[in-house]
Symmetry: C2
C-alpha cells in the first residue's frame, strides 16, 4: 500500500507546531505532495520547535512564529486553509505537574479557541488533532484499544483529553470535520534530543552520541510501542483526508513493542559503541509512570488501511544516522565525543 | 440510617456556589451540624446564586461575594478550612456551546487553581467536587454506573470532566483528600426557577405557579432520575467526611426514575391546577439531548451507605410548597396568577 494522497496536491495546509519534531516532518511531506504549507510555531525554548528542522525548505513553506494561545493570530491563520494539522502542544508531563496553567492554556483553551475560529470563519476546513496514548493512564489491559477507559495520570493528560473532546464535539455538533489520533512514542529525525522533555529517546540518543551511558529508569522491563515518524506522518495524512476519519479517534501503535532495556541495548548495538545502565526511578517520574503500554491500532488499520512500516531497528538506525550528521543543530556539544 | 455527622461539629467549611441551590441547602445543614461556614458566590445573574437562599441565616454564616476565577481571593479563602464543598460552576449546557470560554475558565481552570492553592496552603483540607452525570453523554446502557464510558456531549461536560479529573489527580499524586460526586437532576427549595438555566424543573414549576402550561420537549418519554436536594446534601456530607470516599467518583441516583411526561403530570396533580403540553424539541437542545438516563448509585450505597430517602412525589410537593410561599424572592411576577 502506498497511498497517493493526490487529493493534497494544490491544497493549503496549516501545521501548528510545524517547526517541531512531527510537525516539521509532516510539513516536508506535504510540500512533497504539492501542498502550500503554512507552519505555526511558538519557538518556546523548552518545547520542540527548531528552525533548523525546516532549514532545507527555505522559501518552500511559509513560517509564522506565533503561539496557538494568540487567538487573533490563529483566527486569521486558519482562514483560507483546506487542512489544519493541529500538532502544537505542551508535551512535558513533568512541567504540567509543577506549573499546570500553561498546559491548560495550550492544550485545552487554545484548542477550543482554534475550533471556534474554524467554526466561525472556515467551517469547511479538515482538522487532525494530535493526541496521546497518555489519556489511557495505567493500562488495565493490553493492547489498549480506543474503548479502554480514559484515566489520565497527570495534568497534561487531562488537558489533552479536553482538547480532543472539543474536536469531536465540534464535529458532532457543528459539523467541523475533525479527527483525533492518539500517538504513542514517536521517534526519528528532528525530535528534540537536547534533553528528555519531548521523549526519553531524545536524551538517550544524545548521551550515546556524546559517549555517556544511557540511563534506563527502574528495571528496564517496561514495555512501550514506538512509531518511526514517517509512519506517524502517513497516519496524519490519512486522518486528515478521508471522510471515514472525521469524528473518530484512532490509536497508533507498533507491531514490535519492546522493553526499555531492549531499546537501550539495540541503540548501543546500532551505534557500535556506548552502554546503558539501570538507575532507580526519580520520585516525580515514578508518581506518573504507567507501567507497560502497547496500543491496539486495529481500528485505524481496518478503517483506513494504516499500519506502521518501519521496524524499530531500522528506524533507530536512520535516527542515529540523522543525528550523527546534524546533531550540532540540536544541542550544544558538551564533551569531546560529539560526532558531527 | 441517620448518620450523626458529629465529626463536623466545630469544624470550618467553605462552600463555593454557596448562595446557589445546592450550596445554600448544604450551608443550612452545615450550620445545623455546628460548622463555621463560609460561603463563596459570584452572584452572576445568570447563575444559581440568590442572597435570599441564606437570608434566614443572617449572621450565622460568613458570605464572601467573589468569583472562583479570582485566584487570589480563593487562595486566601481555602486556608484554615477543614472542608471545601466545591459546588460553584457554570451549569448551562446551552451557554457552554454559544460562549465556551467562561465555562472553561470556571469549570476547568478555576478548579485547577483552587486545587493548587489547597495543595500549597492547606494540604490537609477535605474536598468534595460536585460533578454531573452529563459526563457520560448519551447512555450506552442503563442504569449507568461509574465504569460507563465518558463521552460528554457539550463543552460544559468536557470542562466538568477536566475539573473532576484534576481533583482525582491531586488526590492521587499530591495526597489532597478529594472525592467526586456525579449529581443527576437535583431539585427542591432554593433552585433557580426564573428560567430553565439550572434545571427544566425550575421553569416548569414557575409556569405552573403562574398558571401557564408546562412545555415538555419531544414525546415526553425520556426517562430521568431526580434527587431531592436533602438527599444530595447528605451525599455531600458523606463524601466529604469519610476516608473511603477520597479519590473516588460516585454516582447519585434515584430509586424511582420517571419519564418527563410523568413528572409533568405529577406536578400538575400535586398543584391541583395547571396543565402541560408536548412541544417539539428546539434544535439547539436536540443537538445535545442524551435520551434516557438512569444512574446506578450502587457503589455509593455499598461503600458509604447512601441512598435517596425522598421519593419524587414527596419532594415535588415540598418544592411546590416552598415556592408558593417564597416564589416572589425567585422571580418577578409576570401574570395575575402568581401565588405568593
Amino acid at each position: 500500500m502506498k497511498p497517493e494522497h493526490s487529493a493534497f496536491s494544490g491544497s493549503r495546509a496549516l501545521v501548528t507546531g510545524g517547526l517541531g519534531f512531527i510537525g516539521s516532518n509532516l510539513a516536508l511531506r506535504l510540500v512533497e505532495l504539492g501542498v502550500e504549507v503554512t507552519v505555526v510555531d511558538s519557538l518556546i525554548p523548552e518545547y520542540g520547535g527548531n528552525p533548523y528542522n525546516l532549514a532545507g525548505l527555505a522559501g518552500g513553506v511559509s513560517i509564522n512564529i506565533t503561539d496557538v494561545r494568540d487567538e487573533h493570530a490563529m483566527k486569521y491563520l486558519v482562514q483560507r486553509q483546506d487542512y489544519l494539522f493541529n500538532l502544537a502542544g505542551q508535551t512535558s508531563h513533568l512541567d504540567s505537574m509543577t506549573d499546570p496553567f500553561p498546559d491548560l492554556e495550550i492544550n485545552a483553551r487554545a484548542q477550543l479557541s482554534i475550533l471556534e475560529s474554524c467554526r466561525r470563519f472556515n467551517p469547511s476546513i479538515r482538522i487532525v488533532f494530535a493526541s496521546t496514548r497518555q489519556l489511557y493512564g495505567k493500562p488495565r489491559y493490553t493492547p489498549v484499544d480506543e474503548n479502554h477507559p480514559l484515566d489520565p495520570v497527570d495534568v497534561n493528560g487531562i488537558n489533552k483529553l479536553a482538547g480532543e473532546q472539543y474536536h469531536l464535539l465540534y464535529h458532532r455538533v457543528h459539523g467541523v470535520r475533525a479527527s483525533v489520533l492518539r500517538l504513542t512514542n514517536t521517534y526519528g529525525p528532528r525530535m528534540r534530543v537536547k534533553d528528555a522533555r519531548q521523549t526519553f529517546l531524545g536524551i538517550w540518543l544524545r548521551r550515546l552520541l556524546e559517549g555517556q551511558p544511557i540511563a534506563v529508569f527502574g528495571d528496564g522491563q517496561q514495555i512501550r510501542d514506538f512509531n518511526y515518524v514517517d509512519d506517524a506522518v502517513e497516519a496524519l495524512l490519512l486522518a486528515a483526508s478521508r471522510d471515514e476519519a472525521y469524528g473518530e479517534v484512532f490509536n497508533l501503535g507498533a507491531s514490535d513493542p519492546a522493553s526499555l532495556e531492549t531499546v537501550a541495548r539495540l541503540l548501543v548495538q546500532l551505534s557500535g559503541t556506548g552502554r546503558y545502565e539501570l538507575v532507580p526511578f526519580p520520585a516525580e517520574r515514578k508518581a506518573i509512570d504507567i507501567g507497560d503500554y502497547v496500543g491496539d491500532y486495529g481500528k485505524f488499520e481496518r478503517l483506513l488501511g494504516w499500519r506502521p512500516r518501519v521496524m524499530l531497528a531500522e528506524g533507530l538506525a536512520k535516527t542515529l544516522a540523522y543525528y550523527r550528521s546534524h546533531g550540532h543543530h540540536y544541542w550544544e556539544p558538551t564533551g569531546a565525543l560529539v560526532a558531527a
